[in-house]
Structures are given as C-alpha cells and as structure tokens.
Symmetry: C2
C-alpha cells in the first residue's frame, strides 16, 4: 500500500497483544470481560476480540449496537443513559440479541417501560465521583425509586449497578489512579452489600482503561468494560497507564512544506484527521500528537521536542527539534501518535493495518 493522504494505521500485532493482555488480566481476576467497542467501532477488530475469547461487548450508542449485532454479536450493553427516542431500534434489537440498557433517572425509565416491547437487561448507573451521568452514590433513594419502577415489568430484568470511573483520567500518576479506583470500589461494594439481600444476583460493572490497566484490586466487581486499551494513546501514556510501545495506532500524514526559519513543518493532516483534543507539554504548550517515522516497517518516535503544535482543518504544524528537521522532507510521510485515539479513530472512514490491509469500520450516519 502506498500512503498518499492522511491514513489511520493500526499495528495488528500490538493491538492483538493489548487485547490478549486485558483478556488475561480479566481471566486471572475472574472478571467477566465486556470490552467497550466505542474506541475502534470496527467489525474487523471485533473479530480479533472474538478470537481472544470475547463474547459480550459494550457500546455507547444504539446505532453502534445495531452495527455489531449485524456482525454477529449477541450480547451487548449500551453503556449510555438510555435515549428513549430511539425506542424503535431498541425494540428491534431486543428481539434480536441479548440487550442491556442503562438507566439513571425515573423519567427515562417510565418512558422506556411504556414503550418497550421486548425483554432487556437493565443496569442502574452509579456516579462515584466523575459527575457526568449516573446517580450520585450518596443519593441511594433514587436507586430505590428506579428499582420500584422496574419491579412491575416482566420485560425489565435488573442486572446490577454500572459505573464509569472517569475520574481516573484526570489523575496525575498510576498511584493516583489506584487511589481513585479504590475509592470507587469501596463505594460500589457498600452499595452491593446494601442491596444484596433483596437482589442476590446483582452485578457490579465498572472498569475504565486506566484502572483496568494498572490496578490489581477488583474484589466485589463482576465485570469490567475498558475500551481505549485496544489502541492506547498519548493521554494514557502521560497517565502512566501504557508505554509508548503499547500504542497501536498512528495517523500517517504526508509532509507538504518546511519552514526552517521557525523550525516548523507542515503536514497534510489536520483537525479533521486528528481531532482537536490536546494535552499540555511540561512547559505548558499544547500538543496534538507526537511524531514518528517508519523505516523498513519499524516505527521510530522522534524526540519529545518534535510535536504537533497546531491544527487547522487540514493543516498540521509540527514544531521540530533541530536534530529531527532533516528527517521530515517534503514528499515523505510521517506518523502522528494521537492524543486521544477514540476521537481520532472516529474521524477515519476506515483504517489500514501497517501491512496495508483494509479494516472496515462503522460508517457515520
């Protein structure tokens, strides 16, 4: 394959190793492994998971559930507060597969209860301190209200409590991830204890990529749902969650111009290829990606001082260390390691393996 324009590349070996490592961790800790497929959104990469023994998955939208159901996945949790406006598709899916939904407020649950025609599993979302969605852990009465509502319905099977410990993403070290994870764990265990008499089979589902990658303590947890680990990215590396060698993806971008008077190189690769997600460098400047060069199939990261410093729609600006400038020639291709692989992958129409095979993914609607 000749790369001539921005191209999202997946190193299949690294990606499969990331999948295997996480599947092994889950097995070792006797946790149900229900990986989140929102990061890759790809039927092809889904098969790599299947080959690692995965049978149940997590997605973030009804459309994504429909896409993976059409590719043979029969046990899917939509880990997003149920959007009852999509009831038609939800009812279709409930006929077709084992579908789990997420609720966290009585308005949505009442609407769902009224319009649902098939049987679904139901998780109640709990917020242990991320403050995005879910019932705040200290407002258990809201969970009681939901449980009272769903009790009457033969179509709504209560499965347990689900939480996303997104607060680990703003930790500053692996130690801090462990502290935040342990805090969430304690809260969810006490919730489980509180409800277990009445609901002896209730499950606890949690597991963000940072905690699942670095923490060893999951007592009381039944299921984990990490997603990003399949690719990893600079954000995870900065958190101390993965090493640069674990990052399975890059965006290959042609070099179109060099401005040596300001140590800058212009690539064809902008916000519509990389996303505007950034992290801060030690001196406080924004970076939208690190820069690497592939020689004979081997990827070599350039210096930390060579990085994507600005993006417009299709232009990327690399601020280059003096030693790297000559490796970035007009007409050559460099690879950008993304800051947040979920958003970068979402922007691509499809991916390619580093050996040039096309990887299908879900289309934008």
């Amino acid at each position: 394959m000749k790369i001539v324009r921005p191209t999202f590349l997946v190193d299949e070996n690294i990606c499969r190793a990331n999948i295997r490592r996480m599947a092994d961790r889950a097995a070792r800790q006797k946790l149900q492994f229900r990986p989140h497929f929102k990061t890759h959104q790809s039927a092809t990469i889904g098969e790599w998971f299947r080959q690692a023994g995965v049978q149940s998955i997590t997605v973030s939208s009804v459309q994504m559930a429909a896409y993976f159901a059409s590719h043979g996945w029969e046990d899917i949790t939509i880990a997003f507060p149920v959007n009852v406006l999509e009831i038609e598709e939800i009812n279709r899916l409930a006929q077709q597969i084992k579908l789990n939904l997420l609720v966290e407020n009585t308005s949505a649950l009442s609407l769902l209860k009224k319009e649902l025609t098939g049987e679904v599993g139901l998780y109640i979302e709990i917020d242990t301190g991320y403050f995005r969605s879910g019932i705040e852990i200290n407002r258990v009465n809201q969970a009681d209200e939901l449980l009272a509502l769903l009790k009457g319905s033969p179509q709504l099977q209560f499965r347990g409590f689900l939480s996303h410990t997104g607060q680990t993403y703003s930790a500053r070290s692996a130690d801090e991830i462990s502290v935040r994870h342990a805090d969430a764990l304690l809260k969810l265990r006490s919730l489980k204890a509180y409800y277990q008499a009445e609901w002896p089979n209730l499950e606890i589902s949690l597991g963000d990529t940072p905690a699942c990658s670095v923490c060893e303590q999951f007592d009381g947890v039944d299921e984990i749902r990490p997603g990003n680990f399949v690719f990893y990215d600079l954000m995870q590396q900065q958190l101390g969650v993965c090493s640069p060698e674990d990052i399975a993806v890059s965006v290959a971008c042609p070099v179109v111009s060099r401005h040596l008077s300001r140590n800058e190189v212009v690539i064809y690769g902008g916000a519509v290829h990389l996303s505007k997600e950034f992290i801060l460098r030690p001196e406080g400047k924004r970076t939208f990606g690190r820069v690497a060069v592939r020689t004979n199939g081997r990827l070599e990261l350039l210096s930390e001082e060579t990085y994507v410093s600005a993006l417009s729609q299709e232009h990327g600006i690399i601020r280059a260390a003096f030693a790297d400038v000559n490796r970035l020639q007009v007409g050559s291709v460099v690879e950008i390691i993304p800051v947040h692989s979920c958003l970068t992958a979402d922007l691509a129409g499809c991916y390619y393996t580093t050996s040039g095979e096309k990887i299908e993914k879900m289309a934008k609607s």
Copy 2:
C-alpha cells in the same frame, strides 16, 4: 422528520441568505467569488451556490476536488500546499476540469513539474502574518525561485498570489479584523506591483470569512475565497463577524438526563458530534456550544448562562441557568449552536434541513 439522535441541521433560508449576501458583496466590489467548499463539503449546498451564480470554487483537498468535479464543478482551486503524493488523482483531475494548485516551496514544485501530465493553473501561496503555510512576505526571493522553476513548463500556468489571512481569526473585534486585513492587503498590493511588469495578468486571491464579512476595502484584490460564512458559528459571532441570527446550523441532541443538584443536563451529543473546539466564556470557562430550543419551527436561543460545558465521546454536559432548566426535559430535543461549524459539519455523515430533507455530503475516506 422525527429527530431521535444527534442530527446536523441546516436552516436553508439562513444558509441561502448567507450565500446571497456574500455573492452580492463580491459583485459590488467587482471581485471574482470563489467560495471555499470545505465548510459544507456538500453537493446539495453546492447547488445553492450555483443558483446564486457561482461557477468557480475552492476546496482543501484533492479528494474534495474529485468529489465536486463528479458533481459538475469544472473550475476548482485546491487551496492547500500541493501534496505531490496524490499526483495520480491530480493528473486525472487536470484532464477533466480547470484545476488550480497551490505551491510555496521548490521541493514540491520540482516533484510536481516532473510528474504532472495535464495542464494546471498555479498560485504561489504568500504568508502575510498567519505563519501557517506560504512564503513569508519578506522573503520574495523564494517566489523568484518558484517563478524561475515554473517558467520552463507549458503545463504550469502561473495565475498569481494566494493568501489566507488566518490572523483575522485571533482578532478581538471587527476593528482589529479590519486592521489585520488592511495590513495583508498592503503587503499583497506591493507584491503585485513588484511583479506586474513581468506578469501583467497576475491575480491576488485572498479572503477569509471575517474580512470578507466586515471589510469594505479590497483594492488590488481579484478574487475572494471565504468558506465559513455559509454556516457561520459561535466563533464568528464572538469575533463580531455575524449575528446569532446568521448562524445557519445546529446539532439537534436528545436530552437523556438532568442533574438538578448541580444545574446540569446530559445530552446525547458528544465530541464525535460537536468536535472538541471550544471558545472561552467571559469568566474563563470553556464552552463547546450554546443551547437553543425549537418551538413550532422557530429557534430560540436560551440564556448565555446555559452552555455546553464538557464533552466526552457521546455525552455532552449542559450547564444550565436556573430559568432554563425546566425547558430541558428528558426525552426532548435541544439544539446546540456549534463553536466551529467547519469541524462540526465534518463530523456528520449527512445533514438535514430544518424541514427534514436530507442533504448529501462527501463521505469520509
């Protein structure tokens, strides 16, 4: 049309009025109007331009040129430093349409000269102070080198100097836009004067949306290429370039949860629908969009204090003013006015008019 998931909406009346107003401004000032189609990337909206008399267009990639060529556009400038790796497609297009390319360095021009089989128009990109791509205005000798190189080639027809005055985007007021535009204009006029003896037909092409929307002085300019004005957005409004009523687009998003204890509402609509582009509010907090509600077809902006304060992949968090909270009920649909419409539009698979007709756009590759 029933909106059940994040949906990019275009108000056709506002959009056509924006097109007409800019076409009229260009006509009044006797400027060739070559609108940039990167904002909408849509054959349907292209037809609205055609109906306003537009025949020549600007795009930002070879693929976009191919897409619009396949929809009957026969005079296209690719306003991006030529990426010679795409020479095959460039050669195909050069056979098919009147194609203009952009160069700003001898490496790319040498490669192009060697491999080009058809005839193309050529602009030299000039940087008047944006520092992204282009020859810096005080390094005219580099333009001489390019002109010397292209002189020998019958396939390379020199058209003139093209510049993107992107520095107007970081202005703080309409007055500052005018100052920056006037500065760029002076520089380009002196360049034109310098080269006019040898190249009597050379053109000056410039024109970003801010300057084209608010400035009246274009003496010496032959062509303008604004793009964003077709939709406008919060960024342009914050710059003083358009009023809220001129913004033609929004992303309709279902409300899935309310957290009244922290004045927050959760929508189905995240970074993959809106993009992570933000602007700063007066108190320094980031906003990813304003919030509006449509009643009987009429869009009503909610308070300035009600705004999208955080985004993850599919979740959006609205921080809501007390007076607005009750208008944001679970199961209803709100509309988010985007910060940067180019990036938000790019994320959509297609658009819909506010009356429910589908608008085709270019697919992601």
